[in-house]
Symmetry: C2
Subunit: 325 residues, 2 copies
């Protein structure tokens, strides 16, 4: 849940050297450097690739830009069937080779005891950004219109994305990723009826394809706002489920029992608080579990990306509180 | 779920005459006019007061403004204990008398068969805006910091707000409101552990106070993103629960059975779609219920505010589809 890493001064320095966020993503040496920074500082149990979920649509020809203070923006927009059909069927080994090189370099430079997590956005979440032309301030309402307007076009896009994501993640695994995480950051915008149709079935397809090709690589699926759907998420064959802070960890553990590990749950806002509250929240969260549940199949993590306003020392306090517990 | 009413041309005309959104809120004649507009156009089964959840903090002295394209903004900010302690303990009969006059006028002009719903924001939701100085683009992360930093100050604010909300809603009932709706628009930002502490207990206090004073007035509680907590919401004594579109209506009905009516559930984005999909979604939603569940204790409604981009004719289609069904 590194969310780029803007809370770390060393990240901001490297980013400044790169010139722009996308230049940083596309430079394997610098991407490796920022991937390792939090590991060096905090000795986390795992590293996650520094990259962005929007590398795929960028490689599909939509030309991604990050506008300061406005977030992601695509210079090319998809507004009709023609745009969609003509969208390039990217071969990730070519246009996304920079990510493969970064994974390769990181794996070489990372302590062999520390697993490297590769990742991608979910098809639905990428579709939100693609059809929205970038980020949104109103819960992608204009994108959600496609659900009730041109569902067949939306499905076409989702199928294309699914294929690209499978290829992209396969490449990451080949280059050295030890586990894969899928981020469905906007899954929670879908209705109870539509989540299985427009997001979960594609997540299932990706998880199955990866599992078939690489049975030993764990897959973690995180659906922000998906707490109501944990049972169905647990049924798609993933090794782990990421949960946000609205979920009752105890219940999630029961749903995952014997099937999926559970990861996450801490409100990222805790890290903006005082030390005593950070320690208190860690205890509250872990005290809710039995010793068996604490020890087996639970991965401590935030319930969403770390805030850029997080004081770096608070992450130290968090790690210390968890290890002490 | 009228969300002001920007999708209606007649609303926009009246708003233009008023000069600003707040001038419209503070003018009982114009507030009455816009409250009645959707009733005249669509013959809805109930009317909801035109107002804003931020009238209370405005009356508390924070000076609310709506900046075009940027949403609500308070000119006075609460940043420390002094600000908080010195915040005016509003008497709603005075500073919010304009809302009372509007309710009174609407009740006189509204068909006697059509109930008028009064409303207020929840203490937690108002606290988000107050401590955030207005709206937020990052899920009120700087406000959520107070949860883990100065919880005692946050609680002080929540208690003040609870008192004001009770007085405010009591006034609305005295002036003619036939039912009350509480909007906890940001309840879903709280963690599983914190929702009961920082939102639900105050909602319970408000519902209890209103019920004690006016046992015949129904209260509806809507927590956006609160689908995981329906059981605890159903336990606070409210007459109805509003649900967003991520919730399984069938499950909500089972949780509410014998206790609370269920209201809502349709994704507001449906209304941006084509007629055939609007009709299809209505059928899908209602087909999931037994005839008994359809007829008893279910109020058809959107799962959140109507989008400003909604074509007015689509609302006609929706009402027609529901009545036809």
């Amino acid at each position: 849940m590194r969310q780029a890493g803007r809370y770390l001064p060393e990240y901001n320095k490297t980013r400044a050297r790169a010139g722009s966020f996308m230049a940083l993503c596309k430079n394997p040496e610098l991407a490796c450097e920022v991937t390792l920074q939090p590991i060096e500082r905090y000795r986390f149990d795992a590293a996650i690739l520094f990259s962005d979920i929007l590398t795929i649509p960028d490689a599909m020809g939509l030309q991604l830009d990050f506008v300061e203070g406005h977030g992601p923006k695509f210079n090319k927009k998809i507004t009709n069937e023609d745009d969609l059909v003509n969208t390039i069927q990217t071969d990730p080994y070519e246009k996304l080779a920079y990510v493969g090189s970064a994974v390769n370099l990181i794996r070489k430079n990372l302590d062999t005891n520390i697993p490297l997590i590769g990742f991608a956005g979910s098809p639905w979440t990428l579709a939100c950004y693609i059809l929205g032309g970038g980020g949104s301030r109103d819960d992608f309402i204009q994108v959600r219109k496609w659900l009730y307007n041109r569902p067949e076009l939306l499905e076409l896009l989702l199928r294309k994305l699914t294929k690209n994501i499978i290829n992209y993640l396969t490449m990451q695994i080949e280059k050295g990723a030890d586990a894969i995480m899928l981020f469905d950051s906007w899954g929670g915008l879908l209705s109870h009826h539509n989540f299985p149709i427009y997001s979960l079935q594609y997540l299932r397809e990706i998880v199955s394809a990866l599992k078939k090709q690489n049975p030993s690589i764990p897959t973690i699926v995180f659906v922000k706002g998906g707490g109501l759907w944990l049972k169905s998420i647990a049924s798609i064959g993933c090794s782990g489920i990421g949960i946000d802070w609205t979920v009752d960890l105890k219940e999630a553990k029961q749903i995952g029992k014997g099937k999926c590990a559970i990861q996450g749950n801490l409100d990222p806002a805790v890290l903006l608080g005082d030390e005593k509250y950070i320690r208190k929240e860690v205890r509250k969260l872990l005290d809710g579990l039995t010793v068996d549940e604490q020890k087996n199949g639970y991965i401590f993590n935030l319930g969403h990306g770390i805030s850029q306003y997080t004081p770096p020392k608070n992450v130290e306090v968090l790690v210390d509180a968890i290890r002490e517990y």
